[in-house]
């Protein structure tokens, strides 16, 4: 049994066309878009019932006709690093809500961790359950195939001002003193844990700043065997599995301001826990954990 928002990182990897009953929004959008498996955003009751019966109602994203694109998105500025995929997703979700965007333009071919962040951001600011990246995602070899004859409802443009708007909407903090740094929403891949470990290696975190790194249990085991957990712990950080502050509703004591590389966590934690958020790159966040001060900015 897993307890992770990223089951597709630890062995639960459905194939193209497979019918699923998933609940976690960032996993749902990954399942539909990147894997080409089929799920609606289920609730606790319906996923439980599906687990017992092996069945789920045949509607919504289980049907071909509902998987076609609705909006064309022209990306005019290069989107390459994780932070930019997060900003693109956060801007896009708020506009398209639960429609199906088809993205074209200056997208540098992404890998798992970037699509993980992009989908999580788009399903936080909006309710995006599926998107197409023609040439990358399996149900759209071309823009034409992504829309499959459905009329384009709207064409959107992502440029420098849209990127800045997303950044400013995410960064709601006024105070630069950082009490807490949270990395791993959705749960970190092993490469991400390694990156954090290599950035803190041989350094000490600010004593008044907590660093929590979240990853699935199986990847924490791998990180431990590889020495990454020890590197993070020796710097003063903590590596956790199977949870996060948004789900557990638990933060280090007395946190007022936190920093994260996750658009999703920067979106939800201020609402859920009343804390102020800074959003930035992994490097911005690790520097904040070491200095206790936020110095990130939009490059």
């Amino acid at each position: 049994m897993h307890a992770t928002c990223t089951p597709y990182q630890v062995g639960n990897v459905p194939v193209l066309g497979e019918h699923c009953a998933w609940m976690e929004s960032s996993a749902v959008v990954y399942c539909n878009s990147v894997l080409g498996a089929r799920t609606n955003t289920e609730g606790k009751e319906s996923t439980g019932a599906a687990a017992l019966t092996g069945r789920i109602p045949y509607w919504g994203f289980h049907l071909d006709i509902n998987r076609r694109g609705t909006h064309l998105v022209e990306v005019a500025i290069p989107v390459e690093d994780i932070m930019d995929w997060g900003l693109l997703g956060y801007w896009l979700g708020e506009i398209v809500q639960d429609e199906i965007p088809v993205l074209t333009g200056a997208l540098i071919r992404p890998m798992l961790i970037k699509l993980k962040h992009f989908g999580a951001a788009a399903s936080s600011s909006g309710g995006v359950e599926m998107y197409h990246l023609p040439g990358t995602t399996p149900e759209a070899r071309s823009v034409e195939e992504a829309f499959a004859g459905r009329p384009i409802a709207d064409t959107l443009h992502f440029g420098p001002s849209e990127r800045r708007r997303a950044y400013e909407n995410l960064n709601c903090a006024s105070e630069r003193k950082i009490d807490f740094v949270m990395l791993g929403c959705p749960h970190n891949s092993i490469e991400q844990v390694w990156l954090i470990a290599s950035l803190v290696e041989g350094r000490r975190l600010n004593p008044d700043t907590a660093l929590w790194v979240h990853t699935p249990r199986a990847l924490r085991d791998t990180a431990e065997r590889n020495g990454y957990v020890r590197m993070i712990e020796e710097a003063g950080g903590v590596v956790m599995s199977d949870t996060c502050p948004a789900i557990s509703r638990h933060l280090p004591k007395g946190v007022r301001t936190f920093a994260t590389d996750s658009a999703k966590q920067a979106h939800y934690l201020p609402a859920i826990s009343g804390v102020q958020a800074w959003f930035g790159s992994v490097r911005d966040c690790v520097e904040a954990a070491i200095t206790g001060t936020w110095n990130g900015r939009l490059q």
Binding site: G126, G127, C172, Y268, P270, A271, I272
Partner: protein, 57 residues
């Protein structure tokens, strides 16, 4: 809605429990996130940039 004359909107749905009720409608054009957008203890909308933030339904 407060500056306009009250108007009637009929909502059709599937009945789960019988009976009738009436009350003032809390209206928004913005979506509300069921997870992370509502304080489930007091029914308050908590989404940080929502136009109904702080209001309870």
């Amino acid at each position: 809605m407060s500056d306009a004359a009250p108007r009637t909107i009929v909502l059709h749905g599937r009945r789960v429990v019988g009976g009738s009720a009436e009350g003032e409608a809390l209206v928004t054009r913005q979506t509300i996130s069921g997870w992370g957008g509502i304080n489930e203890r007091d029914g308050t909308i908590i989404e940080r940039r929502h136009e109904l933030r702080g209001q309870s339904f």
